[in-house]
């Protein structure tokens, strides 16, 4: 499967090392519309491909997508050197997204850590957009980052806080910080929500997800109502290369979003 070529329309720096690319298709055939939680394989010319979740609006003009990338390796560094007007390759969208239908008529808890907010932003756009907010009686975001300067989408977080409950926490605060300090599990365990009628979407470091799940279970949330987005090495995105195996699951095609009840056994095994 060869990549479609996209052009960078807009490049936004989120914080040092993290940036969001707004892309539009150059060819006649853009990729299929995506579901929130799915990912694309982004190709930096000659450097290689990397799996990056879709972080933009679901229904922008046809052929427009957004990706939020953190520079960690050779390919993300090559993507980071691209500027507005430059081109890159895109294959996708791949994988299973967030089960938005499950959340209808229930409270939704969105719990994100660091870059983990990226695949959840389309969920927030989806639910805050149009009249969908009325489908969800209560919508809360819990977002933790290491430092105030390492939060994604800061201007939007402020805008969202007028339409939904937004709880922010950082591990290391600075003098201007007035929200929570410490891990996100603290405000989560004190939060008000109807444990029997809620759905939780989690994305972040595995450790953060494990501890957040523990809090949710203690609060009485059913394992069937908790969904997590997993990260593993992905080379093909199509279930053929074998790299992303996690127990019996291929994270690229069976995930990245899994229902906790289906995978809790595997989540507890180290170095799987």
């Amino acid at each position: 499967m060869i990549p479609a070529i996209y052009r960078i329309d807009r490049r936004l720096i989120e914080h040092p090392g993290a940036f969001t690319l707004h892309l539009s298709a150059t060819g006649a055939l853009p990729l299929q519309p995506f579901e929130p939680g799915q990912f694309n394989m982004l190709y930096a010319f000659g450097a290689g491909e990397v799996a990056i979740s879709l972080s933009g609006r679901q229904r922008e003009t046809e052929g427009q997508i957004a990706h939020t990338i953190y520079t960690r390796g050779a390919v993300t560094a090559a993507l980071g050197r691209l500027r507005e007007g430059d081109q890159l390759g895109v294959r996708g969208p791949f994988g299973q997204g967030w089960p938005l239908g499950e959340a209808e008529g229930k409270e939704l808890l969105v719990i994100a850590g660091g870059l983990g907010l990226a695949p959840l932003r389309p969920v927030i756009y989806h639910l805050l957009g149009q009249a969908r907010a009325s489908l969800i009686p209560r919508f809360q975001l819990f977002y933790g980052a290491r430092r105030p300067g390492e939060m994604l989408y800061v201007p939007e977080l402020q805008a969202w806080s007028r339409q939904m409950d937004v709880t922010l926490s950082v591990d290391h605060a600075d003098s201007a910080w007035s929200d929570h300090v410490g891990v996100i599990t603290k405000p989560l365990s004190a939060a008000e929500f109807d444990a029997e009628n809620c759905v939780a979407f989690l994305c972040g470091p595995e450790l953060m997800m494990r501890f957040s799940i523990q809090v949710l279970l203690e609060r009485g949330v059913s394992p069937e109502s908790i969904y997590i987005s997993m990260e593993r090495n992905m080379k093909c995105g199509t279930g053929l290369c074998g790299h992303c195996q996690w127990g019996p699951n291929f994270v690229c095609k069976d995930g990245p979003v899994f229902r906790y009840a289906d995978v809790r056994h595997w989540l507890g095994i180290r170095s799987l």
Binding site: G46, G48, Q87, C236
Partner: protein, 373 residues
């Protein structure tokens, strides 16, 4: 299926008939002191009168005391090398003022006949079919190559010490369809092949050969020869009950057996390269010196390498223990969840080609032995 007798001295006519039909014949040849697969142009290219002696980390060619053409067991490399290519170019890209253009590199599938496919290998190909063909996204190169294959299966009449197909229910008798299926019979001065066909194109080849219908005695002799291989394996130390392997391994992900095997395993990936079903691959991207032309290649990869599970925070499987566990658990347990069958066909290649002689069947019994009651 009607069975016919083809005299051993007429085997070359079979090879020539297949070649005349437009196929390149690949089969067993002696190369690098092993019976490997390669181009076969005539019956004389076959390893007539040779066999292989196989044990843990051990492979030697030996003279047989007869002139059998197919009197050997699993070759070092499987047919996988011709279906899932070890290395192939996937695309070519160019960057210019006009932007990036990507051109898919389409793999031309040759018409190839596999001569001497064992039952375990037919099962291995069927297992890879479920991975690459019966999938939402297909591996087109594999699909095209696979569609062109003409198979001449050969029933096993002797087993290597490392063979355990009877335990995995994949042989030694050919049970999956092939274009032609043969059993080699050598007895009392007679040397012939009992041949049958499952396909139209197989029957078309058979029609051109000087064959005669098999007698009841011919059938009996062929059965007896296959039974000898069954007996060899059932009497051997590698015969075991495989019916509960998935449950056994899933129950024992923390077994001390993984620590023990990690002490010996070199994480060299030989077992995954020799395995006829291991399908993992990776990609390599590169550019020319000017940075205007780029290529992407796909090549075989192994879950034993550190890069394989690499994430930004380091390898998910950082040590040999977790990598060996992944390989064996995938092969014998999670494969059932993913593809509806075991990923192991009992060919024994991973045992023979392990440089330190780790034996999958011994690992199974060790896990069982260490399981707390």
């Amino acid at each position: 299926m009607a069975k016919f007798v083809l005299q051993a001295e007429d085997l070359d006519l079979l090879i020539q008939a297949i070649r005349a039909d437009g196929y390149q014949v690949l089969g067993p040849v002696i190369r690098d002191q092993a019976i490997a697969y390669g181009a076969v142009e005539k019956a004389d290219d076959l390893p007539r009168g040779w066999t292989d002696e196989q044990e843990k980390g051990h492979y030697r060619l030996r003279r047989r005391n007869d002139d059998a053409y197919f009197g050997y067991a699993a070759s070092p490399q499987s047919w996988k090398q011709y279906l899932q290519l070890p290395r192939r170019q996937v695309w070519q890209a160019r960057k210019s003022d006009l932007g990036i253009q990507v051109r898919e590199v389409v793999d031309e599938a040759p018409a190839v006949a596999f001569l001497g496919v064992r039952s375990c290998e037919l099962h291995a190909i069927a297992i890879q079919d479920r991975v690459f063909v019966d999938a939402h996204y297909r591996n087109d190169s594999y699909v095209n190559r696979r569609a062109e294959i003409f198979t001449v299966a050969v029933n096993c009449t002797s087993a290597a010490a490392t063979c355990f197909c009877t335990s995995m229910h994949t042989g030694p008798s050919v049970t999956l369809p092939s274009d032609l299926a043969m059993t080699e019979v050598i007895t009392d001065g007679e040397h012939y092949f009992l041949v049958g066909s499952d396909s139209y194109r197989g029957r078309q080849i058979l029609k051109q050969l000087p064959v005669r219908p098999a007698t009841a005695e011919n059938l009996q002799m062929a059965d007896k020869a296959i039974q000898a291989a069954v007996q060899q394996m059932e009497d051997g130390p590698r015969h075991f009950d495989s019916s509960d392997l998935k449950e056994l391994l899933y129950r024992n992900l923390d077994s001390p057996a993984w620590d023990e095997v990690a002490e010996r395993c070199l994480s060299c990936a030989n077992c995954t390269m020799a395995c006829p079903t291991c399908f993992c691959s990776t990609v390599e991207d590169s550019t020319d010196l000017e940075g205007a032309e780029a290529e992407r290649w796909e090549r075989w990869d192994s879950c034993f390498t550190g890069e394989f599970s690499h994430l930004s925070g380091g390898a998910v499987r950082p040590d040999t223990r977790s990598r060996y566990r992944q390989w064996m658990t995938h092969k014998l347990a999670s494969w059932y969840d993913q593809f509806g069958s075991s990923g192991c066909v009992g060919c024994g290649r991973c045992i023979t080609w392990c440089p330190v002689g780790i034996d999958l069947t011994e690992q199974v019994s060790r896990i069982r032995e260490l399981e707390e009651p």
